[in-house]
Symmetry: D2
Subunit: 247 residues, 4 copies
C-alpha cells in the first residue's frame, strides 16, 4: 500500500452557518479546523466534504479515493441520504477506516455499522471531562498516558447503546459523576471503526492539541493495509482450493 | 418475567408456493413445521407470521407480544419493507431474542443487527455437514455434544461477513472441505441474536430432531429476562443518582 | 440441573483477626456477612471456607459440590497455595461460576483465569463511587438501573489490567475523577467469571442491600447449567461423528 | 520505535535429538529452519533459544531485547520452568508479541496467557488441512486468500479450549471432517498473541512458503509499537490529572 493516507473530513456544516456562537469558534467550519490540523501530520493527504454538496460531497470517486473518513454531524443526521450512508458503510466493509467524532455517535453511517441504538445521556453545562487510558500501549493512546483532561465540555453518559468494543482505549468521567466509553474500536468487515467522544460546536475542543493528537493516531490506526475487499456471494461450484493446490 | 416464552416464527413463505420440490417437503410452509415442533416444547407459546400478511404479520401488537422471533427468508429478502425490518431490529434492542436460520443470514433484520455484509460462499450438491460444538456446556449445545451431522445439505463457506461472535457455539465442516461459523451468539442492546446455519427448502432439515433441539435451546437462551428497555436520549440536567441516593 | 445453587463464600479471613477497625465492621468475618445475606435468597445453599482451614477449605469434595464460588482476598493472596488456586481455575473451566469481589482482582484464581496482570490504581480516602449500568436489561443489573451509589469507598482506577470483558455491566466513576470497569463478565471454558468491584474491609459495603442484590444476581447468572465438562486431549483415531451418524 | 523487529525463535529442541524421523526433516532443529526463513525477511533480526540453555536461553537480557517471540514446544512443556514461563507472560503484558505454533497451544506461556485449558482433539494420519481466511484484509492473511492447503498434516479438532479470539483470521477443516480455529489473535495487556496451528515435527510444514509467509505476517502484526509498559499498582494519593492539567 502507498505510504500516504488519504483522509476525508466530513461535516454537515450546518450550525456554523446558523448560530453566531458556533461561528465565533469555527468561522470556516469544524471540518476545516480538523483538516488543517491533520494536514500538518506527515503522510496525510486531507480533503473535506459537506452535506450541501452534491451527494454530500461523497461521490463514488471521492469514496474510492478515501482511506479514512472522519465524520462530524449533529443537527442534520436525518438530512444525510440513506443511499450515501449505506455507501459509506459499504466502503468501511471494504477496508476504509471510519472515525466518528462526538455527536457522530448518532450519525447514520455509525449506527449502520454498529447495528444498535447508539443512544447516550447528555448534559450541557461546560463541565470537566477526564479521558482515562484503559489500554496502555495502544497506538491510539500514544502520547496521552495516563489521561486527557478537557476543562469545559458537554457530558455524555452511559448507557451508550453500542456493542462491547473490540478494543477499549478510553473511558471518561465527568465532573457531574457520569462515565462514558469514549474511545472505542470495532472491526467491521475489512475496515476498522473508531469512535472518539471529544468535540463540540461551541467549546473549542478541536483546537486542543491532545485531542487532535488522538485523532491523528486514530487515522493511522484505522487506515487500510490492503486493497478494497469487494462484497460477493459466490456460488463456489467446485472447490477453489483444488485449483490452488494444483498450481 | 412470566415463565411462558412467546415465540413468533416468521417465514417469507414464497418458494413453498412456487416450486413443487419445496411443496413436497414443506406442503404447509417451513414456518408451520418449525412452529409445530416448538409447540411441543414445554413453556413455549408459538405463532407464525408471513410476508404476505399486512405488515408482514408483524404489527406492533405482534412485536410487543413476541419474546423470541425465529426468522426464515430466502428469495424475498428485498420484499420485506425497511420499516418492518427496522421495527424488528428495535425490538431486539429492547430485549426480544432473534434467531436467524440458514439463508436468514442475508435477511434485512439480521444485516441491520450485524452492521456488516453477512455474505457467504455457497454450493448446492447435497453434501455432508458436521457441526462441531466449540463451547461445551453452552446451553445452546445442550444434548448435541460433540457434533451434529447432516448427511445432505447446502454448503455455506467462509468468509462469513459478520463481526466476531460474542459466543462461538458451533463451527461446521463440509464434505467439500469448507468451514463455516454455524452457531453464533451476539448481544445487541438488551437483546441476544443467535444465528444457526442448518435449514433448506428442499432438504428436510427442519424435520431433524437434533436441529430442532438446538433451535429450542436457542429460543430459551435468547429469551428476554426483563421488561422492554426503551430507546431514549435523555437530557440529564441534574444527576439522577442524587435523587436515587436521597431516597 | 437441580434448582438449588450451591455457593461457597471464600475469605482469607486475615485482617478481621488482626485489625481492630476491621473487627468492628466484620466481627465474624466478611464471609459470614456475605453468606448470611445470600442464604436469605431463595434457592441458594451457602457454605464458607477460609485460608486457615486444611487446603484452605477447598478440598476436592467441596469444590465438586460448589456451583458458584465467591472470593474475597486482600492481604494474603500469596498465602493461597498454587495447587489450590489451580484447582479453582480448573473447576471454573469445568463450569463452576466464579465471582471475584473488590481486592479479589489480585487473587491467584482470578489472575490465572484472566491471563493478565490485573493491576489497578487505588486511593483510600472514603470517596463517593457511582456504578453506572452500561448494559440495561443484563440479569446482573436487575433492580439497579440506572446506577448504584456508594458514599464512602476506596477508589480503584483504570488502567485495569484485564482482557476486554465479554459483557460490560457496570463502569464506575469516583469523586476524585477516576473511572473503573467495575462489573465485568468473561467466559472461561464452560464457566463464567464475574468481577464486581465494591467491597472493603473497613467500609461496611457488604451490608449495602444493593451491593448484595448484585452479588445475588451474579450468583444466579454464573451458575452452571450443565454437568462438569472434563478437561481432555483425546486421540480421536477415528471420527466419532461416524459412530454418531450410525446410531 | 526502531524499524527493526527483534525476533527470538524458541524451540524445546528435544525430538530432533531423539527421533531419527524428526532428524531427517529438521537436522538442525525446527528453530533454525524457522529462523533462517524469517531472517530473509526485510527488517527482521532473528535469534534462537532452546530449552537446554541456561534459563532456557531466555535470560532477562534476551527477553528485554525481544520484540516478538515465536514458540515451539511439544514433548517437553513440563520441563519449562514456571519462572521462565511467567517471565515470558510478563513480557507479553509489557508489549512483546507472542506467536505459539502448533503444539505450542499446550505450552506454559500460552496457557498462562489464555487462562483456559487449551486442550484439543487430535489424530495423526497425514491428512489434508485447508485453512480458510475468515477475515479478508487482515494483515496476517496477506497473500493467502482464500485459503492455504496442507496436503499431509496432523489433525487438531474442536473444542479448542480457548477464550473466543479477539480476531478470527483462519479456521481449518480436515479431510476427516473436523474443524479448528487455526489462526487466532488476542490482546493481553499491551501485547498481542497469535496462535497459528500449522507445524509438525515430521511433516515438513515449516518449509512451506505460505506457512512461513503467515508467520512473517504475524511477526509484523504482533510487534510492539511502544516502549515496554511496566506493571504497577500505584497508590494515587492525589489525582495526577491535576498535575497534568496544570503543565
Amino acid at each position: 500500500m502507498a505510504d500516504t493516507i488519504r483522509v476525508t473530513v466530513w461535516n454537515e456544516f450546518v450550525h456554523e452557518k446558523k448560530h453566531e456562537a458556533v461561528q465565533k469558534v469555527y468561522p470556516n467550519g469544524i471540518h476545516n479546523v480538523i483538516a488543517e490540523s491533520l494536514q500538518k501530520q506527515p503522510g496525510l493527504e486531507v480533503r473535506t466534504a459537506t452535506l450541501d454538496q452534491p451527494e454530500h460531497g461523497l461521490t463514488d470517486e471521492v469514496l474510492q479515493a478515501t482511506d479514512v473518513m472522519v465524520w462530524w454531524g449533529h443537527m442534520a443526521h436525518d438530512q444525510v441520504s440513506d443511499a450515501v450512508a449505506q455507501k459509506v458503510q459499504k466502503r468501511v466493509l471494504e477496508g476504509m477506516g471510519f472515525i466518528a467524532l462526538h455527536s457522530g455517535h448518532y450519525s447514520k453511517p455509525f449506527r449502520l455499522l454498529m447495528g444498535t441504538a447508539c443512544t447516550v445521556n447528555w448534559r450541557e453545562v461546560a463541565e470537566r471531562e477526564i479521558l482515562w487510558v484503559c489500554h496502555p500501549g495502544h497506538p491510539i493512546a500514544e502520547g496521552i498516558d495516563p489521561c486527557l483532561v478537557l476543562e469545559h465540555t458537554e457530558m455524555y453518559g452511559e448507557p451508550f447503546g453500542i456493542p462491547v468494543p473490540d478494543e477499549q482505549v478510553f473511558i471518561s468521567s465527568f465532573a457531574g459523576g457520569e462515565v462514558f466509553r469514549s474511545g472505542n474500536v470495532w472491526h467491521r468487515g475489512a475496515g476498522k471503526v473508531f469512535y472518539f467522544r471529544p468535540g463540540h460546536e461551541t467549546y473549542p475542543i478541536f483546537y486542543n492539541e491532545s485531542v487532535m493528537r488522538v485523532i491523528a493516531n486514530g487515522v493511522r490506526y484505522v487506515r487500510p493495509t490492503h486493497p478494497p475487499i469487494k462484497d460477493a456471494m459466490p456460488n463456489r461450484k467446485m472447490g477453489w482450493w483444488e485449483e490452488q493446490a494444483s498450481r
